[in-house]
Symmetry: C2
Subunit: 95 residues, 2 copies
DNA sequence: CGGACATATAGCAAAATTGCTATATCATGA
DNA sequence: TCATGATATAGCAATTTTGCTATATGTCCG
């Protein structure tokens, strides 16, 4: 299943594509983290919503990666899914 | 320099204190990450501001922990300081 | 098929963050 | 002391996220 890597690399060498990717990637990365945490906790979006004191559509939106959430939301989401939000800024030459 | 740990533990056993601490902690944790990244890059707040296309006061506010920033800001800040924002929701029984 | 349950999207108001200007504080060196 | 560079804070407008209701999709049984 690693056959896509070369193509990916090639596409990312296009500056325009690269820029879009760089800005988009974090949203999906976070979305994946959210979904992982929620399934680990065995909760539905409605469950999480109720626990966070909001509605299911809000959770769906966060997990869809249609926008970068605030740390506030992230921390609250983490809390109700039995997780802890860890944020690090790691040195990275390639950016 | 570990003498404060027992006191800290005791204080946190007070529910009211604990709640305030839980909500406050992430802001300062993030602020510390920001400042670390910036000094690693050898930049001033004004430098970062310019690179991000904003002003020094905005950076000062982010680093003061007076509010939880958005992932958007975090990612942009990371980028100009030669870092990468890593967000993880790690399983954590104690919360 | 028809009914539950889970997730996704739209549209708008409310709330929070961001951007900005101005100014304050603080440390350092000439 | 004065000047300079760096960081902090205030106040307000602009932008973004959040919260909400309603509705759409999609899936899995019975």
């Amino acid at each position: 299943m690693k056959k896509l890597e070369p193509l990916k690399k090639k596409m990312l060498s296009d500056p325009a594509v690269r820029k879009a990717y760089d800005e988009l990637a974090p949203e999906y990365e976070i979305a994946r983290e959210l979904i992982k945490a929620r399934s680990r906790a065995g909760l539905t979006q409605s469950d999480v919503a109720k626990l966070m004191g909001t509605t299911q559509s809000v959770i769906a939106r966060m997990e869809s990666g249609s926008a970068l959430p605030s740390m506030n939301s992230l921390v609250r989401y983490a809390k109700v899914t039995g997780s802890r939000a860890v944020v690090k800024l790691v040195a990275d030459r390639n950016n």
